[in-house]
Amino acid sequence: MNAVLQYAVQGLAAGSFYALAALGLAIIFGVLGVVNFAHGAFYMLGAVTAAVLLDTLDLTLWWSLLVVPVLMFAFGVVVERLLVQWLLRLDPLYNFLLTFGLTLVLVELVKQKYGVSGLPYKPPKLLSGRVDLAGVVLPRYQLFVFLFSVAICVLVWLVMTRTRVGMIVRASTEKPDLARALGINVGRWVTPVFGFGVALAGLAGVLAAPFRAITADMGNNFAIILFAVVVIGGLGSIVGAVVAGFMVGLVEAFGQAYAPTYAQILIFVLMALIILVRPAGLFGRKEATA
């Protein structure tokens, strides 16, 4: 029982990274129609930036959680203005390919600068060690990651459902033509939404920094699992992205615990099953299959 709970928390922590990043991916796809291949690279950049900030400016995790998303937002805005925007009117496959090329460049740049061995990162004292919850001993940091990311997801959800900005973004996501017909300037939201999605990927990276080896390659496999996540959840769905993110994290953690050889493969088997049973994804709308 104790072990199962530990795996569950570990899975939820791993799922937090997927959920946050997939949320960003889903929002970007919703408003821009772009599947951002570079999302894994942005996640990696978030972690690397946090490590560099700790190393050079002595900024701890708390500060990084604040600063890195802002930096990543700015970076996302630059990428959108410089590259992505030129292909928005074309077939979405072109931006998929563009961001693929961008991924190769970003990963290689980081590799050249920081080498292939992992950068060190220590979480603050408050989050180190373990905590004893009624006889169940759990790592503090994993609990924190889970709670923090749930808080962020809830916050995003509140913004999406309770504010005017969120309403516009949702309208642009779900019925862009209708939103335009109602006089909403969908184009105005394209750049900030892209930046916001990138910031979420960067935030996931910061959270992952003390938990994962920080290397240039850390985002590569992450990006592909992220695609599996949004296929499972339904790419058009924001809730689906988050739920599937945690689900995949759990599958990964339990897989690693009980069948380590098949842990990575299990995720893709899960994806295959979903495609077989519900091609649109768990929360996807029917029309997304077309």
Binding site: L88, L93, Y94, G101, V105, E108, N220
Partner: protein, 350 residues
């Protein structure tokens, strides 16, 4: 919602070759291509020449899906790499002539493509790319974990090069090139036959208007799966020859970067041009070889930048641009109508 596919350059509405109507020009081009293929190892280090032709078939096989069916497979490394491994294993354990091993590898790739294709064609457009990418990564992990068979990270080493009683050792790469070339040329001819057959016409109609093809009574999914399996088979031929050429199979052959590389070659050559893949492969392999020999170790930096630039500025690709120019000239000559009316290479997103 209409379908979302990369729409190739104008002029491929009917998948004509650059020759279009003039069959004499077609023969001239074919002759030029054959001479170039035969002469290549005189000008390029033979193993690199072999890589170029193998990659060319790989890119052509991908174009059957991307250019003619409207499906971007981002998981073709699974077929390329698995065929390379199976070819290598057959050649190592059974001592058969290498063409037999290559055919075995290609058959395995087709077998693998059947379930992957069946599942993947349930989604189209960008989803298809993501799903194939994920399945490709799954095959990569299987290859990684199954190290008893694949050698894991060490790769599969010491693949022999037997050719009907003759052992072509490493110094004989020059002769090996000519021994293996027919396999790849046959594969290219097969690709050409596929896209110019009635079956190929159906694929193009699916690409251009899936609903209409469905309404006309074609079982769209079945056609897509068959195209996927055929493409995987040709990819497998190329991957098998590649494995024998190197005498070694690395795990990278299964990696998604390999899938990306071949997409780059196809796009660089020109989507929906078939033969563009040859040019794309030539440019990409020569560039990689040049960078490697000049001691530059950041090859992904260059590949990635080329990718970004081609997608931003050069979407027609080399062959596509040549053909577009030629068609435009042709049109100017025959009529005074403005030729650039349908010049936009990609449709607006719906």
């Amino acid at each position: 919602m209409t379908q979302s596919v990369v729409t190739p350059t104008p002029g491929t509405e009917a998948p004509a070759t650059i020759a279009g109507g003039g069959s004499r020009r077609r023969w001239v081009l074919l002759a030029v291509g054959l001479v170039a293929a035969l002469a290549l190892p005189w000008f390029v280090y033979p193993p690199v020449a072999m890589d170029i032709v193998a990659m060319a078939l790989f890119a052509i096989a991908l174009d059957i899906l991307l250019g003619y069916t409207g499906l971007l497979s981002f998981g073709h490394a699974a077929f390329w790499g698995s065929s390379a491994y199976v070819t290598g294993l057959i050649a190592t354990h059974y001592g058969v002539p290498f063409p037999v091993a290559v055919v075995g590898g290609a058959l395995f790739a087709m077998l693998l493509a059947l379930p992957v294709g069946y599942l993947s064609v349930r989604r189209s457009g960008i989803y298809f790319a993501m799903v194939t990418l994920a399945f490709g990564q799954m095959v990569y992990f299987i290859g990684y974990q199954w190290s008893d068979l694949t050698g894991g990270e060490n790769g599969l080493q010491g693949v022999p090069r037997k050719f009907f009683g003759i052992e072509l050792v490493e110094t004989e790469s020059f002769y090996f090139y000519y021994a293996a070339l027919p396999i790849l040329l046959l594969g290219m001819w097969g690709a050409w036959r596929i896209v110019h057959s009635p079956f190929g016409r159906v694929l193009v109609s699916i690409r251009d208007n899936t609903q209409r093809a469905r309404a006309l009574g074609y079982e769209v999914e079945k056609y897509k799966v068959i195209a996927f399996v055929l493409s995987a088979g040709l990819t497998g031929l190329a991957g098998g020859v590649f494995a024998i050429n190197h005498g070694f199979v690395a795990l990278t052959e299964l990696h998604w970067t390999t899938s990306g590389e071949v997409v780059l070659m196809t796009v660089l050559g020109g989507i929906g041009t078939l033969w563009g893949g040859v040019l794309g492969a030539f440019l990409a392999v020569m560039l990689a070889d040049y960078l490697a020999s000049s001691g530059f170790d950041g090859i992904d930096l260059v590949t990635g930048s080329v990718f970004v630039l081609v997608v931003l500025l050069f979407r027609r690709g080399v062959w596509g641009t040549v053909r577009h120019q030629w068609l435009a000239r042709q049109q100017r000559r025959t009529s005074s109508r403005r030729a650039s009316a349908s010049a936009d290479p990609a449709r607006r997103r719906p």
